[in-house]
């Protein structure tokens, strides 16, 4: 594991997490969530947890995001916060 | 004991069977639900009955051998694999879960038919999965396995609760958030324990505990596990999710989830404190008693007072559940043998009482179609048997001998006196009095006010005595609930008295063995 990469990814993870909860559009929020999951997946690859990374990539970044988008498709993108 | 020797492989696999039987049945019910809408119900009923029988056998086995049964999943021994540990305490709670799940399922057939008409397969599967989850939580000796099973129980619980009144989805979503926070905190706590000990098996961790008593990570693990579990059991400042979630759900779901979820969570708390953190750490080293007992006092008083403010019967029950959680948490953290026995006994008794009260709620709903207390007018004359059972259940909650509620309260109060926690004693007595007021308010409505026919409002009745007796004479036709609902309900009410009379035996023969000897 290379420390700078780890730190950079950690920073990106935090930024995307903040973005996911602050952005004023639910569709963007769920896509940010996908990005967040993908970055986590990267982080875990860096840390050697390949199985977890694989799962996170398929589930977190893939299917979860689709679920969120599907749900938003049937509700609304509007949000006040 | 030829019975046990005769078919040893079946009997020795009982801990696995008791949990996987509902699982298999839920799969089969899920299968057949697509073919035939009527098939899942009998399958689920038979499976629940068989589970109940096996839990009885398990209980007998534990009591006759007197030692805990350890079952190795996948054949791996304790710290490496996952083991199930059935001791007196878990056998008791397993018996409780299976019997309540079975009785509630039998009693609410008509409710299932009306509410879950098109989705019988899915409903029955989820009901069984919920039961399996709770059973697994109770039986497991592995801290992480507990989390997985907790999630099964929670997820199926959300689904069962979510299909109630119009408001149910929102309150269920709130329940889901709180439940997830609680479960995740628990998971986090397990992580801290894992950091400090490197193990996930409860007994293994307990054997490492004496070496690391002053580790701050263990302290934090304790705190965060407790917070997680306290959220899940709805103790006072963290109770917000419970009343809405339970009162807005369908009767069959409320009848299963309300008696069991909080009680099993309390069992988990007791299990974690005794088996994982060891009583030495919980009571002697940390000295958590005072804090937790005050929390419990707050819960009791808050729950009782809120219950007073409710007009709706089921909502009132939910606040009583919250108050009762305070009884058990407080009783356990008194830290002496009497208090802990009282808490464990109250788990059993309170589950039975809550079941009876929710079954009564189901019958009232069936009768009147409303949930307000006002709808119970004239019930004593209309449904004497139901009301007799309801009275027994209510008196049990109030704590009147010889119903079971009195005896567990007795232990709790004695424990409080022995531990010098007089405020806890006062809170218990206060709550008993409030419960008396609550239920006598209902009795008064049901006793004094004439029965109102909900289908055609003929005229506005006034409450004058002459009219009351006049109504009484021409509306005295008794119309009870159907036998399918009534018989299980009456059985549970009788059980409340039997449990009360045999509470001495339960404490001596089961609970005494369940409490480690280090608790005096």
């Amino acid at each position: 594991m290379i420390l700078p990469i780890d730190l950079i990814v950690l920073l990106l993870v935090i930024i995307s997490a903040f973005a996911a909860i602050t952005v004023k559009d639910l569709l963007s929020a769920s896509l940010m969530l996908g990005a967040y999951s993908f970055l986590l997946c990267l982080l875990w690859t860096v840390m050697g947890a390949v199985d977890v990374a694989f799962t996170e990539a398929t589930v977190g970044a893939g299917v979860s995001t689709v679920f969120c988008v599907a749900a938003i498709f049937h509700t609304t993108r509007r949000t006040k916060d | 004991m030829t019975f046990f020797d005769g078919d040893s492989s079946l009997i020795s696999n009982l801990p696995a069977i008791v949990v996987t039987l509902p699982l298999f049945a839920s799969l089969i019910a899920g299968f057949l639900g697509w073919k035939n809408r009527k098939a899942p119900y009998p399958i689920a009923a038979v499976a629940l009955f068989l589970t109940f029988i096996s839990s009885v056998v398990l209980m007998i086995q534990v009591m006759s051998t007197g030692v805990a049964i350890e079952y190795r999943m996948a054949g791996w021994a304790a710290p490496v694999g996952i083991v199930y540990v059935i001791d007196h305490l878990s056998a008791l709670v397993i018996l409780l879960i299976t019997s309540i799940a079975f009785v509630n399922f039998i009693a609410n057939k008509s409710n299932i038919d009306t509410v879950f008409r098109n989705k019988a397969g899915a409903f029955n599967s989820l009901y069984l999965l919920f039961t399996a989850g709770l059973l697994g939580m109770t039986a497991t000796g592995d801290a992480f396995n507990l989390y997985v099973l907790m999630e099964i129980a929670s997820l199926s619980g959300y689904a069962l609760i979510g299909l109630g009144s119009n408001r149910a989805p929102l309150s269920t979503l709130n329940y889901l958030f709180l439940g997830t926070i609680g479960a995740t905190f628990y998971l986090l706590g397990v992580g801290y324990i894992y950091i400090a000990t490197g193990s996930l098996n409860m007994a293994d961790i307990a054997s490492i505990m004496p070496k690391i008593l002053d580790s701050s990570m263990i302290l934090f693990a304790f705190i965060i596990c407790m917070v997680g579990l306290l959220i899940k059991m709805a103790i006072f400042p963290l109770h917000g999710w419970l009343p809405n979630a339970y009162s807005e759900s369908a009767n069959v779901a409320a009848g299963l989830i309300a008696p069991l979820t909080t009680k099993v969570t309390i069992y988990i708390m007791i299990r974690i404190c005794l088996t994982l953190f060891t009583p030495q750490y919980t009571f002697d080293y940390l000295n958590t008693s005072d804090l937790m007992v005050w929390l419990a006092i707050g819960t009791i008083i808050f729950g009782s007072l809120s219950a007073l403010a409710q007009k709706d019967y089921k909502r009132m029950l939910t606040y009583i559940i919250i108050a009762e959680v305070g009884y058990m948490v407080g009783g356990f953290f008194l830290g002496n043998r009497i208090g802990v026995s009282g808490a464990i006994l109250h788990i059993v008794n309170d589950a039975a009482m809550t079941l009876a009260l929710f079954m009564a709620a189901g019958i009232f709903m069936w009768k009147t179609g409303e949930e307000s207390q006002e709808s119970l007018k004239g019930m004593f004359a209309k449904m004497p048997f139901t009301m007799a059972g309801f009275t027994v259940a209510a008196l049990s909650v109030v704590g009147v001998p010889p119903t079971c509620g009195f005896f567990s309260k007795w232990y709790l109060i004695s424990g409080g006196i022995a531990a010098g926690q007089y405020f806890f004693v006062a809170a218990l007595i206060f709550s008993s009095l409030v419960n008396a007021i609550l239920f006598f308010r209902i009795f008064e409505i049901a006793h004094f006010e004439p029965f109102k026919d909900h289908h055609h409002h003929s005229s506005n009745h006034s409450n004058k005595g002459e009219e009351a007796s006049a109504h009484d004479t021409h509306e005295q036709t008794i119309k009870e609930a159907p036998l399918g609902m009534l018989i299980p309900f009456m059985a549970v009410s009788i059980l409340l008295v039997v449990l009360g009379l045999y509470s001495g035996q339960i404490v001596n023969n089961i609970i005494n063995f369940a409490i480690p000897s280090s608790i005096l």
């Binding site: 969530l33 390949v50 679920f67 | 992580g191």
Partner: protein, 134 residues
Amino acid sequence: MDIVSLIAAKANYWTYVILLMVGLYAMVAKNNLVKKIVGMVIFQTAVILFYVSIGYKKGGTLPIIMHGHDHGHGVESVIKAADYINPLPHVLMLTAIVVGVATLGVALALAIKVYQEYGTLEEDEIRKQIELKG
């Protein structure tokens, strides 16, 4: 302990705390139900980060035994625990991820139900509607 090694030693743990708090904040303080669900996902993944960080071992490699399939099971003398990353937390987290997506699915289903009932996902607007209905 100099600052770099301190960061190296603790950065992952700090990050997990920050993510946990971000998720918790969203769950407690946000008004929109889907936002709360997003917070819930972040909250759960923070714990996964925590676990995976526990499992990491300096100098260890992926938890897959090298050349295992060449020798069958006669190589135990060669395998040293210090060479491999702790696999147990990974296993636990696979389960946790699955639980996470399951919870997410149910939560979204409930959110859709709520939207169908009230036509909005904002909690304050829903409350207002409930009060209006009595």
